[in-house]
């Protein structure tokens, strides 16, 4: 596994995984902005990830694109690359890299739980596992998202004169919240912030059930009473949110587990809906992967490194430059 460095760079063949700066060849795990960037020569990713990059950055955001199906092998010299579903958002993938006899998996961001908006996570056995650790502390034990979405639906029923503004990342989380609402038979039109429109249209086109949605417009204030509006978290604090009648500020995120975090951000109705694995799922994945060598990145590494060492696994944190904890999608 010495072939890859702490920047997820394979020098031998000049290939990067999720690089921050423009590179020659970049394998992209998924479309979130801290993984998918503008300006690479050659992007290798799932078809959906490539579509999403084009929606966000334009058709010419890379010189060349190679779409891969899940499970389809792609070789560069003596390295074989295969993408597997990561269950994080639409198009998200883990990367299996095989070289000689060594199997290395980079999970990218992943979740094990069920999600109708993307292909579910597939466990891949390997020798070395590079896992994310966004929620790598035992306090994070995600509840059933159905219960969480019910809280929103109940609050909408009780507070008829308020509108509910739900903060959710524009890509993935927003559409998952919409889909969860539909699963619970919430059939009203869902109103969305303008920045979500293209991505929602794309999800619909990909036959993900997010139901009827409409961009928020300058209608009469009272029109939005009793409605659900979905907006990116940055818009919650913005003047944008003040135009609505008695808004109840909600947020769909794994961080909402901690009340003090919700309070700091001025969230009145926290919804613990996460697109990352929780503590138990991280441990379970590490165990089932059968990997002997665990590298941990992206978040709360300390506790997970400690746990792995206790299990006699070789483990260390991998600090990838340009990513600070707690700011990731």
């Amino acid at each position: 596994m010495d072939f890859i460095n702490h920047q997820l760079f394979i020098k031998d063949i000049n290939v990067h995984i999720d690089p921050i700066l423009p590179k020659k060849t970049a394998i992209i795990t998924h479309g979130h902005a801290d993984h998918a960037r503008f300006g690479h020569d050659h992007v290798i990713a799932t078809r959906q990830t490539i579509d999403i990059m084009k929606i966000r950055y334009g058709d010419k955001c890379a010189k060349k694109f190679t779409p891969l199906r899940y499970g389809q092998k792609y070789s560069i010299k003596n390295y074989d690359f295969t993408l597997y579903p990561a269950g994080h958002i639409l198009g998200s993938a883990q990367v299996l890299i095989e070289n000689d006899d060594h199997r290395l998996v980079i999970t990218g961001d992943y979740k094990v739980g069920k999600d109708e908006t993307c292909k579910n996570f597939k466990l891949v056995k390997c020798d070395t596992l590079i896992t994310e650790a966004t929620f790598g502390l035992p306090i994070f034990q995600h509840p059933d998202p159905t219960d969480e979405i019910q809280k929103l639906i109940r609050s909408v029923k009780i507070n008829k004169n308020n509108c509910h503004i739900v903060g959710a990342y524009a890509l993935g989380k927003a559409q998952r919240v919409m889909n969860l609402l539909r699963q619970q038979k919430y059939n009203e039109t869902i109103y969305i912030h303008g920045s979500l429109e293209k991505l929602c249209q794309y999800y619909s086109k990909e036959k993900i059930n997010i139901g009827k949605f409409e961009k928020v417009s300058s209608k009469d204030r009272s029109f939005y009473e009793g409605k659900i509006i979905i907006a990116p978290p940055s818009a919650l604090k913005d003047r944008w949110s003040r135009r609505f009648p008695n808004p109840i500020i909600c947020m769909a995120s794994g961080w909402m587990t901690v009340k003090q975090r919700a309070k700091q951000q001025g969230i009145e109705l926290p919804l613990v809906i996460s697109d990352h694995s929780d503590w138990n799922e991280l441990l379970d994945t590490i165990k089932k992967s059968k990997a002997k060598n665990i590298l941990i990145t992206h978040g709360q590494e300390d506790a997970l490194v400690y746990f792995c060492k206790k299990q006699n696994l070789v483990s260390k944190p991998l600090s990838i430059q340009g990513r600070s904890d707690e700011e990731i999608e």
């Binding site: 502390l137 035992p138 306090i139 034990q141 919700a262 709360q300």
Partner: protein, 522 residues
Amino acid sequence: MKKFSSLLHNLILTPSRNTKIKLLQDYFKILDVNRSYALAILSDQLSFQFIKASKLRELVYEQVDQHLFDYSYDYVGDLAETISLIWPIKKEGKSQNLSTLIENIRKIKKSEINTEFSKILSGLSNNERWTLIKICTGGLRIGVSERLVKTALADLYNKSINEIEEIWHGLEFPYENLFQWLKNETSKPKIDFKKLFHPMMLANPIDEEKDFKRLDANEFQAEYKWDGIRVQLMVSSKSVSLYSRTGDNISSTFPEIIETTKGDAVIDGELLVGRNFKPSGFNDLQQRLNRKKAPKDLQKKFPVFIRAYDILFYKGKDLRKLYLFERRKYLEKFQKENKRNQIDLSSIINFSTWKELTKYKNNFHDDLNEGVMIKLKNSEYLPGRKRGYWYKWKKNPKLVDAILMYAQRGHGKRSSYYSDFTFGVWNKNELVPIGKAYSGYTDKELLVLDKFIRNNTINKFGPVREIKKEIILEVAFDDVFPSTRHKSGVAMRFPRINRIRWDKPINEVLTIEEFKNEFKIN
């Protein structure tokens, strides 16, 4: 328990005062069985003998790896919330009644506390667990003051908040007489006012720009603000008792006051350490605080006295409706009649303009006062912090520039941010820490510091991060004392971050010797 825990959950997440009042009212409207406990909890008057923070840690270490717990606690910054989330056994049972649950916990024998209390924790939902732990450790910190609870009750039952305030300290669990009176089923509870602690009148900080333009100096009098502890002394021929600002009886801590005081009055004043009515500083007073009893040698070494500000009752007569200048006459009379008491009077500063008062406020020769109090001569004695009557005007703090050395995540509303800062000055080529501060900065400055710390950590010691020595903090503090406990030999009183000195290079920071000279230590 389910209803009460969701009340607390909603209260902590609601920024609006009116919504909080509404939530409280909705709760008190329906729940008759649990209202007594709810009121006791919300006003922080319920305590459990055996279940303290240390006991809870012990329980959680039986269930969870200690390191994993410590990592989590460091991240969350709140003990109750960390335990409630990390607790591994979740076989949520039928939700119990709040009052039944508390009574069951009270029945647990000390020897069985570990197994029995763990069993209870396992049977609750996350939110209920959080609530129960908050109840046990006291101090809910959910942004609800005792005053807000009283306001909610007063509004709900069309009573005035002052009526509730007046009888509040005479009420006892389960507050049946209060609830009956609120619902107009009985008359107002009879309280023996002589035995009762009377809520104190407090001051608001003055806003130099706005208030001095608005207020007429002639209508106010000023006194020094002494750096001791505010007390209420109740004297009668039968008994003498001493109360702290929050209404705790601290008589046994200061027996010499109890034994020597004569007269018949209720006095408001400042308790100070010193001989012949010469105060000797807060550091000395600290030797006498937080003790149940005071041995004779301690009484000799650190004798205490009371500097009286005000008088509430004189020979059974309630003076609180009189004006301050009228009450003062009674106070002087009381003092003259009882010359042997360890009580002197707070002197009144004469001034005719606000500008003139400034020199008294910043009187740096006398380090023992913290500034001045400005009181409306025509002020009744009103409980709480009413606007427009009493103001405090603190002297300018002392300032020192120091280098940021270590940082730790904060607690409560600052949890997750690196907001606890240790700073130091030079000792030859090294830095020596002189203090720690976790307030004073603006929200914006905190974000900048937090980001700098995350990107410039050079070492980690558990939760503590050592930071690249680049940032200079201007630290404001009230005072500094010699200390044998700290490596630097100094201990600061109330240090806080005044601003970040982006302009100053680190080699211009003082050495510890220069610092000690400047502030006259040893």
